[in-house]
C-alpha cells in the first residue's frame, strides 16, 4: 500500500494548482489482492484494508465501486468497512436474495462546482461465486437494475458516472443499451491505462491497476451532454512522441560518438535512419495540431470536452506525510498480526533441502550466491518491519507458494533466503541421487518474473541481472 502516500501527494498538488474542484472516485477492488483469501491470510489482509480506507478517507474520496476482490473476506467485513468509510460504497446489483433490495448504495448524487453529478456502481457478476452462500446475497445482471436506475438519476443530475467492474466489452454493451451514462470508470479484469474511448454516448476511462498510476480527466461539460474528443489529449500524446523520437536520436548519436555503435550495428543504424526520417513529418503534424487546439480554445464550446492524462506515482515522487503515517502504521500492524501456519519448532519443507545442502557439492556457486542480495532477501524485508507480511514473504524465502504463505513463518533457517532451490527447484531428492533427479540447470526468465513483476520491480532486466547473479560455470 506504499503508493497511497504518493497518490495523496499528487492529488493534493493537483488541488492546489487547479481552480476547478476535484472529484475523487475509485472503480473498485480497493481492499484485497485476491478474489478469495484463506482464513490464514484474512486477518492481515483486513488490517491492510482498514489502512487503505483510512487513507481514502483522508484524501477525500467520494465513492468507490464494489468489485469481486472487495468481497474476499466476506460481506460482513465489507459492511463493517462501509461503516468506517467517509465515502460511499456503490453497487446497484449486489442485492438481498429474498427482497432484491440493494445491500449497499446504488448511487449517490453530488454537487461538484456548479454541476449535479450522479455516481452509480455495478459489481461484475463473477463476484457471485465468492459470496458466502449463507449471506443471503446475490448479484443480479446489470440489465435488470441499470436502466431503471439511470432513468431515476437522469431526472435530477447533469451528469452520470458509472463505476463498473465489468470487462470493457460489457461496458460497451452497457453504453449502447443504456443511454444517459456519460462516463464509465472501468475497473474490470485486465485493466491497464487506456486512452479514453467513446462508446455510444459514454466516455470509457480506465487506469492501470494496483495504484501505480492516477487517472486525471479534465471535464468541460456542456448542456448538450454530447462528447467531443478533446484535441488537447492528442496534442499531449503527439508532443510526447516527438520528444521520445528526439531523445532516441540523441541517444544513438551519443552511443555512436562513444563507441561507434551505429557503424558496428546495421540494425541500430537502420532504426536511427528511420527515426531521423520520421522526425520532420512528426514535427510538422505537431505544429498543425497545436495551432488547431489554440483556435478551439478561443472559440465557444459547442459540446462537452475532456482532456485525460495519467500521473505516474513513481517511487521518486514525494510522500504526503499524513497518509504516509497511515501506511506505515498499517504495515506495522499487519506485520504483527501474522501467525505461523502451525505452532512449534522450525519445520523443513518436504521436498526442499536448504542452501547448505546444495553447498556441500556446489561450493563455488554457493559462495557466489552468499554475496548476492538473494542471500539476505528476508533480512531486507525484516529491516523494513515487514518480515511477517504475508503479501511479501513468498518472494523473500525459498519454497513458499502463494496460498500457503503462513508456512514462511516457520521455515527452517536454510530456507529463509531466496536460495538455490528458489530458482533450480526443490532438491531433496537431487542430493540423494543427482543423476536420477536432475534439477533445472539454467532457470529461465519466467522463474525470475514470478517475483520480479512490474508492480514490484519496474526496472527488472533479465540479462543484466543474470550477469550479476548467475552461478559460476561448472558443476562444483
Amino acid at each position: 500500500m506504499g503508493g497511497l502516500s504518493k497518490k495523496a501527494y499528487e492529488l493534493e498538488l493537483l488541488g492546489k494548482q487547479s481552480k476547478a474542484p476535484l472529484l475523487l472516485l475509485d472503480g473498485g477492488s480497493l481492499l484485497f489482492t485476491q478474489d478469495n483469501l484463506s482464513p490464514n491470510r484474512a486477518a492481515q489482509a483486513r488490517i491492510t484494508a482498514d489502512g487503505i480506507v483510512a487513507a481514502y478517507n483522508y484524501m477525500g474520496f467520494k465513492a468507490v465501486g464494489i468489485a469481486t476482490a472487495d468481497l474476499a473476506t466476506g460481506l460482513e467485513f465489507l459492511k463493517e468497512i462501509r461503516d468506517r468509510s467517509k465515502f460511499a460504497w456503490l453497487s446497484a446489483n449486489l442485492v438481498q436474495a429474498d427482497t432484491r433490495q440493494p445491500i449497499f448504495q446504488e448511487g449517490i448524487q453530488l454537487e461538484v462546482g456548479k454541476l449535479k453529478i450522479a455516481v452509480l456502481g455495478l459489481t461484475e457478476e463473477r463476484a457471485d461465486q465468492f459470496l458466502d452462500k449463507n449471506a443471503g446475497a446475490v448479484i443480479l445482471p446489470w440489465q435488470e437494475v441499470l436502466p431503471g436506475l439511470v432513468k431515476r438519476f437522469s431526472n435530477k443530475a447533469d451528469l452520470i458516472i458509472l463505476l463498473s467492474s465489468y470487462a470493457q466489452a460489457d461496458n460497451k454493451k452497457i453504453a449502447e443499451q443504456v443511454p444517459g451514462i456519460n462516463i464509465i470508470l472501468q475497473a474490470g479484469p485486465g485493466a491497464r491505462n487506456l486512452e479514453p474511448e467513446l462508446a455510444a454516448g459514454s466516455l470509457l476511462l480506465q487506469v492501470a491497476p494496483r495504484g501505480k498510476q492516477q487517472g486525471v480527466c479534465d471535464v468541460f461539460w456542456h448542456a448538450s451532454k454530447v462528447w467531443q474528443p478533446d484535441p488537447t489529449a492528442e496534442l499531449l500524446a503527439k508532443e510526447a512522441n516527438v520528444g521520445r523520437t528526439r531523445q532516441q536520436i540523441v541517444n544513438f548519436d551519443r552511443q555512436e560518438k562513444a563507441s561507434g555503435y551505429l557503424s558496428k550495428n546495421p540494425a541500430a543504424k537502420q532504426a536511427y535512419e528511420f527515426l531521423k526520417g520520421q522526425l520532420p513529418d512528426q514535427e510538422k503534424k505537431l505544429a498543425a495540431l497545436r495551432k488547431n487546439v489554440e483556435s478551439m480554445k478561443i472559440g465557444p464550446r459547442e459540446k462537452a470536452r475532456y482532456g485525460n492524462r495519467f500521473i505516474d506515482l513513481e517511487k521518486s515522487r514525494p510522500d504526503q506525510p499524513e497518509v504516509l503515517a497511515i501506511v506505515e502504521k498499517t504495515k506495522q500492524q499487519a506485520n504483527l498480526a501474522a501467525r505461523p501456519a502451525a505452532p512449534g519448532p522450525a519445520r523443513e519443507q518436504p521436498s526442499y533441502a536448504g542452501w547448505r545442502a546444495c553447498a556441500t557439492c556446489h561450493q563455488r556457486q554457493a559462495d557466489n550466491w552468499e554475496k548476492s542480495r538473494h542471500a539476505g532477501a528476508l533480512g531486507t524485508l525484516t529491516a523494513k518491519g515487514q518480515g511477517r507480511n504475508l503479501d511479501c514473504i513468498p518472494c523473500h524465502v525459498t519454497s513458499v507458494l502463494t496460498g500457503n504463505e503462513p508456512e514462511a513463518l516457520s521455515l527452517a533457517a536454510d530456507l529463509q533466503q531466496v536460495g538455490c532451490e528458489a530458482c533450480h527447484g526443490p532438491g531433496k531428492q537431487h542430493i540423494i541421487d543427482p543423476a536420477k533427479w536432475p534439477l533445472t540447470r539454467n532457470p529461465g526468465e519466467e522463474i525470475c518474473r514470478r517475483c520480479h513483476r512490474p508492480e514490484h520491480d519496474d526496472g527488472f532486466e533479465f540479462k543484466s541481472k543474470l550477469d550479476r547473479l548467475g552461478c559460476p560455470a561448472g558443476l562444483h
Binding site: M1, G3, K7, L14, S18, K19, A20, P21, L23, L25, G27, G28, S29, L30, L31, T33, T48, A67, A69, V112, G113, I117, L185, Q186, A187, R192, L194, E195, V207, R210, G211, K212, Q214, G215, C217, D218, V219, T232, A240, Q248, P266, A267, A268, A271, L275, Q278, G307, R309, F310, I311, L313, T380, L381, Q386, N389, D391, C392, E455, H456, D457
Partner: protein, 48 residues
C-alpha cells in the same frame, strides 16, 4: 531477425501514447477534474 526486433522496439516506444506523464497542472476552464483509480489492492512498492 535482429533488425526486425530492433524496429519493433523502436515502433513500440513511439506508440506509447497511453503512458503516464509527469505531474502537470490542468488547463483552465474545466468544470471539474475527475481523479480516478482502480484496484489499489495493497502493495505498490517493493516489499524489501
Amino acid at each position: 531477425m535482429k533488425m526486425f526486433l530492433t524496429l519493433i522496439f523502436v515502433l513500440t516506444c513511439l506508440a506509447g501514447s497511453a503512458k503516464a506523464a509527469p505531474t502537470m497542472a490542468s488547463p483552465p476552464g474545466q468544470d471539474f477534474i475527475l481523479c480516478y483509480s482502480n484496484t489499489i489492492q495493497g502493495e505498490t512498492e517493493p516489499c524489501g
